[in-house]
């Protein structure tokens, strides 16, 4: 036998445990090191897909509308996420601009697109074309999603600037608040259960 679906190996300490069914929102922890082995989501596929679509809409709003407006002596200015990344990238800031663009824009976008793609097909109990590819990348990019850090940065910038200017939080800030919540709900979760839920049928052969 090449695999043992009834067993689970702790990623953090290599202990082997027998899988057991969990109730909603329950978390299975490793008895050796205390790490999370797997968890049961309360959300079913339809709910997850609905939240992903909502995240896609909010993501668009968060990226086109200004996050902060400032005014001083009759002059005013505003900036959105991408303009901020661009401001960082001037001259030698190019590298850190790339990092910011990746973690604040590209990775959250990929999370929404890949998850939406996988879930769209999962509703029909099929593995999407490129299912393995999408699942691998969702796992790989997860640590680099930093929407919540952007939100905290917006709040700090508001406080920092309000010392000398008049500052208003724009619609982009409110959209980012919602997006942070949605991304946490859909993409910080363990979606590995999809591997078990969706049988490797014709779809996986199609992908390979």
């Amino acid at each position: 036998m090449t695999s043992h679906p009834a067993l689970v190996v702790c990623e953090y300490c290599d202990s082997v445990w027998r899988r057991s069914a969990l109730a909603d929102d329950e978390i299975a922890r490793c008895g050796c090191c205390g790490a999370v082995l797997y968890r049961a989501s309360r959300l079913d596929l339809d709910q997850l897909l609905a939240l992903t679509l909502a995240a896609a809409i909010v993501f668009a709003i968060a990226n086109v509308s200004p996050v902060i407006r400032i005014a001083v002596s009759g002059l005013h200015n505003e900036a959105n996420l991408l303009q901020s990344v661009a401001a960082l990238s001037h001259g030698s800031g190019f590298i850190v601009g790339l990092v910011a663009a990746a973690t604040l824009f590209v990775v959250p976008l990929l999370q929404i697109v890949l998850l939406g793609w996988v879930l769209l097909f999962a509703r029909a109990h099929r593995r999407a074309p490129g299912f393995a590819f999408a699942m691998r990348w969702l796992q790989r990019i997860r640590p680099w999603s930093m929407t919540e850090v952007f939100l905290l940065g917006v709040l700090v910038a508001i406080v920092k600037l309000s010392a000398m200017l008049s500052v208003i939080a724009g619609p982009g800030t409110y959209a980012t608040v919602v997006l942070t919540g949605l991304i946490t709900l859909i993409a910080k979760r363990d979606i590995r259960t999809l591997w078990d839920k969706l049988p490797a049928g014709e779809a996986v052969e199609f992908a390979e």
């Binding site: 695999s3 290599d14 303009q83 905290l152 920092k160």
Partner: protein, 203 residues
Amino acid sequence: MTAAPRATELGLVGCHTCGLTCAIGQTRCPRCASHLHPRKPDSLARSWALLIAALVLYVPSNMLPVMYTSMLGRGEASTILHGVVEFWKAGSWDIALLIFIASVAVPSTKFLVLGMLLVSARRKSPWARPQRARLYRLVELIGYWSMLDVVVVALVCALVQFHLLGTAEPRAGIVFFGLVVVLTMFAAMSFDPRLIWDADDDA
């Protein structure tokens, strides 16, 4: 301690990507086709290299200014610590504390904790294993919040663009700081926490 057997003893390996428990000896996971590693390859060497690189860049990231601001003709270049002190003096002790934690405490903690984990894993020390395992997960959890200062500099520089009245520009310090955050995250990812539990007799 617990009686749970370890995967290597049973000839098993857990897939990093899909979590499937596979038999050792296969190079790829039969379910998701990811590479299987009983232990991450060259974990200690890679993690050390990335951590040392981050430590080297940490020096200029703190010495060099991260941002240049000029307001009404008065220009100044400020470092990360300078920014913290300014918030503190202005009475925003809470924001000062927040930036201090994200920009100074978190990176320093990562250097100390990862260094300690690397040394104790190399020595296959049985000391405080559950606590070391928890420390590793803490480092994974808090690591990316250091990006906070990068976001703040980006926003301020995008907003304060009033020519003579006031401008803000990023400076080299923020580039080094951003790279420190990325390198420490890679260092933490390269470290294999299973090494904490490996004793001398293990392969």
